[in-house]
Each structure stands twice: as C-alpha cells, then as structure tokens.
C-alpha cells in the first residue's frame, strides 16, 4: 500500500471521528438548555358522540366521539439550535370498565389532534403546498431559531381524529380527560417527550390535563354523517 491510500484512510478516519464528536456535543447541548413549557388553558368546548362507519364500504357501525377543545400553551423554550421539529398532540384518555382511574394509568388513550411545528431550519422539509410553504418560510425569514412558533393559542378547535374504542362503544363514557403532550425531534441526538418528573433543567409540563368530563349519549340526528375515522 502506498502512502496516498494510507493518507486517504487517515483523513477519512479523522473526518468521521471529528464528525461524530461534534454530533455528540450538539446532542449533549440539549441538556444545558432549560425547558420550561407551560399550559394556560386546556379545556373541552363541545363534545358529541355520533354513529358512523370506519370506512365507506364497511357495514359495521361504531360510535365516534368528536371532542372540540381550546388550548393555550407556551412551548417556545423547546426550540433550540438542535430542534428540528416539535410534535404536539392532545390525547383523550379514559379508564376501561372496571379498570383503574384516569390520568397516568388510563388504559384507553387516543390522539384527537396533533400538529407538527418545524423549526425554521427544517421548514424546507415540511409537507406543505407551495403557497403555505412560502408563507411558512417568510414567517421566520432570517431566523434560525423562532421560539414564537411554540406559542399555541387555539380556540374551539375541531379534532383531527374522531375516536372510538375496539368495543365500538364510547357514548356515556365517564372520567375522560384531555392531555397535552409534546415530542421534541432533534437534528441529532435523543428524542424526548414531556417528562413525568423534573429532569435537570427540563421541567414537567404542568397543567396539561383538562378537567374530567363525560362523553354524552348518542346524538341521533347526526347518524351516518361521519364517514372516516382519521
């Protein structure tokens, strides 16, 4: 072997070592940025249960809960230089018949609404039409980090997903709560969710539970109006 190959090998080896070390430092830097997200409001505004079919050709009828809600939250501290996107989602949780209580030990959990908030550095990856994309990119022109994107204020939001249960029954279900979660997707490193306990500089998401509510009985006249569950 001649030294040019050896040099190439050494150069490549050195490059990978440096790249890996830099990636590790970037990933570790997450630990040193404080995360203090807060929730102002999370409440249901309108809840109804209707009958419908899982898809157009299905003959099976199921009960679907349509939960409208309002949300006011500040997740801006989650946006740092290593944040690629924050996935925010709201779940509805309720206990099984004869099961333990709601909340952490809920045995039924379903996402009713979610949203991908990209960091300006990841805007070009978002799945949007050209107009929406231009608007998104203009909103953070010249900024590599845009914490204002973490401020959520939505009123009487229609759920993205109408939820049911494998038993097809959700009407009159009691002890239902809504819970706000987030998932921080880094450019490199560890994926993180809202922690159950304070961890170093990462605080828990307080107030992310709504008050308990009950799903109403079946709404007769809306029968058959919903065709999809996703």
């Amino acid at each position: 072997m001649y030294s040019s190959i050896v040099r190439l090998q050494n150069t490549f080896g050195f490059f990978t070592t440096v790249a890996f070390a830099v990636a590790c430092i970037i990933a570790a830097s997450d630990l040193f940025s404080a995360r203090t997200p807060s929730v102002g409001v999370l409440k249901t505004t309108n809840v109804q249960v209707v009958r419908g079919r899982p898809h157009y050709y299905s003959s099976k009828k199921e009960e679907y809960a349509i939960i409208r809600f309002s949300l006011d939250a500040d997740l801006s501290s989650l946006f740092t230089w290593n944040t690629k996107q924050v996935f925010v989602y709201v779940t509805a949780e309720w206990p099984s018949a004869g099961g333990s209580g709601s909340g952490q030990n809920a045995t039924n959990q379903a996402v009713i609404w979610d949203s991908i908030i990209t960091s300006p550095s990841a805007d070009h990856l978002a799945n949007l039409g050209p107009v929406a994309m231009r608007k998104l990119r203009r909103s953070a022109a010249g900024k590599s980090i845009d914490p204002s994107r973490g401020r959520l204020s939505i009123n009487n939001q229609r759920p993205k997903y109408q939820i049911t249960h494998p038993s097809s029954k959700v009407a009159n279900q009691e002890d239902v709560v809504l819970r706000l979660h987030y998932n921080v997707q880094p450019w490199v490193g560890i994926l993180t969710w809202n922690p159950d306990e304070d961890f170093l500089k990462w605080k828990t998401l307080k107030g992310n539970l709504s008050r308990k509510f009950a799903l109403p009985g079946l709404k007769k006249k809306d029968e058959g109006k919903t065709g999809t569950r996703s």
Partner: protein, 172 residues
C-alpha cells in the same frame, strides 16, 4: 508484503486480524441487540412517511425494553407485519388496554390515514410483540450508505474485497 504470507504463523495472524475486525463489528451489533432487547437495534429509514421528522437514510436507535413505562401513545415504534419483510417506522396514536394484550394503532406523521391498511388482512391493531423497538436516538444521513449498498449490491462485493485486500496487504 505478500512474501510474509510464507510464514504460517504470520499468515494466520494476519487472517486473524482481518477476521477480528469483522467479528468485533458483528459482536458489537449483537451486544447492542442484547442490551436493547431488539433484533435490529439500529435501523435506516427507507420511506418518507414520518417526514419531516425522519428522511430517507436517517439512522434510528431503537430500545425494546419497558423499564419505566409501557410503550405509550406518542412513541415512534418500528413494527413488523406478518407476511411483509420490511419493518415500518410510525407513531403510536391509539392504545386500548394495558400489558401485552394492549391494542395499538399507528400512523405516519406525514400520512393522512392511519395504518389499518398496512396491517395484515383482518388485523385492526398491533400488539406489543409486533413491535421491534421504540425510537430513542436519531442520527441524520449516516444510513444512506446502506441504502446505496442495498440498491447497488455490487458495491457490497467491491467494498468487502477492498477491505480484505487492504488488511491482508498491509499489517497494522
């Protein structure tokens, strides 16, 4: 240095060095498998259904143990479907029940519909045992090499051959 192969001990040592590089890589992989309890603890993203979080060629580190909590809604899991060889990386969006019998529904962030269509015929939900692991770590781009290798199989042969040649011809 080819003449050094005439000494059997030296030839054996050189062959051993080459073998140890391969076997150490393999055993490190298996060690990671054992620690994470996942048959493939590192996977490469092959599709864009989780964009913008994951692109094609990104490397994901999986964890398949439930020390502190069960696999929950919101986690991104890699699962296998009976009769399909390619594992899928999607997010859990619904969970009914607890324990190994819990029914899980997944959906790709970038997909409009949930995964019911992707599951086996007659299967509406996943169980815990279908899941190969939850995504805990992320490294962009690095996996693109393996995509290239699997799309151009001759590259694999060339690379392995070159590696062997370098190790056999060059000690240290």
């Amino acid at each position: 240095m080819l003449s050094s192969l005439q000494n059997p001990r030296q030839a054996a040592a050189q062959l051993m060095n080459f073998g140890l590089i391969l076997s150490t890589a393999f055993m490190m992989w298996k060690g990671l498998s054992v620690i994470s309890d996942s048959p493939s603890p590192i996977v490469v993203v092959l599709s864009g259904s989780m964009e913008p979080a994951f692109q094609r060629g990104d490397l994901l580190l999986l964890w398949n143990r439930n020390f502190f909590s069960e696999t929950n809604v919101g986690e991104i899991v890699v699962y296998n479907v009976k009769g399909k060889d390619i594992p899928i990386v999607h997010r859990v969006v619904r969970k009914f029940g607890a324990g190994p019998q819990a029914k899980l529904l997944t959906k790709g962030d970038n997909n409009a519909a949930d995964d019911t269509e992707l599951y086996a015929r007659g299967q509406d939900y996943l169980n815990r045992k279908d899941i190969v692991g939850s995504v805990v770590g992320y490294m962009p781009f690095v996996g693109y090499v393996t995509i290239m290798l699997s799309e151009h199989p001759w590259l694999k042969t060339v690379m392995l051959g070159l590696m062997g040649l370098v190790v056999v011809l060059q000690r240290e």
